[in-house]
Symmetry: C2
Subunit: 297 residues, 2 copies
């Protein structure tokens, strides 16, 4: 089993072309739904009593929700706007609500997952949760600007404890104080993690390990509707494939990066998780093959 | 023979780490030097009487200079500064000097090149020069922001007359009025050109033809010294390989894109053309192989 811990949110997402209010979102939502096409996946997080039944049904259809707590109050709400190029997001409002003082508590007998992905949470929470899980075989974490600015030391300590780090380019530059992404990846490796993936949005990603570099372009899309969750869907597809193959050899990692790019490309084709929940494994594998066809010499 | 027409310049290039004054530069300089590793290459352009003998010797060692005019006055001088990330350039000064009212005139008996690359010139000049060359087998052009803003219709007319267009991402967005680069490529194809390459700096490039898309990541570099000329070196390597193979089948085009990425990656490793003029064909082929090794599944 793969467990994903992170935010489950109601997103208000504004693009120059459309606005969608309080749609299902959150880093852990995207990552877990994405991973669910590859392996049995459980979601650990918290929602409020306002969390729509319809959204719970969507999650229930694909995920183990034993670790999803519900608390009196409102669900984490994130309101943001994209620019015309859909490449820059401005935060309008962040209402943490029930996520504010959340301490992840798992029900007794909760199975130890073999694979664990910790999305954008407080690094201290992440390390706490990690220590509860005994020793999952592979652990991976992300972070975000807020924690890098506010808790840089804890972010670095967290990264030192995980097998892999996925992080976007801007966050990597901010964390490492270098404009060069390869230098950033080397710096993050020096914290103690075994591999780093720097996500570059439409430009794809680069995987860096000791003696491996695997740069990949993004899957070329003519229509992008809502870039929200692309990186989280990447992470879910990446770790999902690793979990399904139960291997971290270099070939599997490379395949996993491509599945990550593929899942990210699906996520942005509609608002919120709409495209992500309608996929079939056949569509995913078809796009994976198409991707390989496009990039081969 | 491959002919390159465009600016030969003295560049003053300022990065946060170093400033180099009046070094050899210009789009056609980079493109022709890059192409010279693949095929016999000639440079068409103009310099002033201040153009240092040392720079002329550098060009003479690798290029046919019959089409390089010298005119009383100063050489085109371009002064610019890069930001800390070496990703944004600010123009401090553009002194056109002898390039201001240049009308390309070729000596009698100048051989018709089989391949022609027209770099960043006035689109009207480019079309004029093109008509003088009878019919080169393959023609390719670039443009720049200045012409897109000032002479958009002529830029489009120019593109309609050439086999291929290379253009960077920001210019493509400006020209086509869309943030989506695949849409931009389709728009440029609709002008009448047969293929488009959108260059994305460190993020690589994408080649788009009717039924072909070939996205590639950039060659990952840990040290970038001066990004000047990366795109022009890309174009030179791309068309140089095509000329050497004397083919535009899809496989050769893909190889050419990778050679383009490779030549761009060399260009940025030192100020100006310093790295570009010190290369050997062995180094180029070695990096080409290394690139293929990095990106393969």
């Amino acid at each position: 089993m793969l467990s994903v811990f992170g935010s489950v949110a109601l997103d208000t997402t504004r693009t120059p072309f459309n606005t969608e209010e309080r749609i299902l979102g959150g880093a852990a939502t995207y990552a877990s739904l994405s991973a669910s096409y590859f392996v049995e996946t459980s979601l650990i997080g918290i929602v409020g009593t306002d969390f729509p039944l319809e959204y719970r049904s969507i999650l229930e259809a694909k995920l183990d929700l034993q670790g999803l707590s519900t608390k009196q109050g409102n669900t984490f709400h994130y309101d943001s706007s994209f620019d015309y190029a859909l490449s820059h997001r401005t935060t309008n409002k962040t209402e943490l609500n029930v996520a504010a003082d959340f301490e992840p508590v798992l029900p007794p007998g909760y199975p130890t997952p073999k694979y664990l992905y910790l999305a954008n949470n407080d690094p201290i929470q992440n390390v706490q949760l990690f220590s509860k899980f005994l020793s999952p075989m592979i652990t991976m974490c992300d972070t975000m600007e807020y924690w890098i600015r506010d808790r840089r030391d804890q972010v670095i300590r967290m990264m030192s404890k995980f097998d892999g780090v996925v992080i976007n380019d801007e966050e990597a530059r901010l964390l490492c104080g270098s404009a060069n992404l390869i230098k950033c990846a080397r710096t993050i490796l020096s914290f103690g993690t075994k591999f780093v993936i720097i996500k570059k949005g439409e430009h794809g990603s680069i995987l860096v390990q000791d003696d491996v570099m695997f740069p990949t372009p993004g899957y070329p899309l003519e229509e992008v509707v809502d870039p929200t969750g692309a990186g989280d869907s990447f992470a879910g597809g990446f770790l999902g494939h690793i979990a399904a193959k139960n291997s971290i050899d270099s070939y599997t990692m490379r395949q996993a990066v491509i599945y990550g790019n593929v899942m990210g490309s699906f996520a942005v084709e509609d608002f919120g998780v709409r495209r992500l929940i309608k996929l079939t494994r056949e569509e995913i594998d078809l796009r994976y093959k198409k991707y390989l066809d496009l990039v081969r010499l």
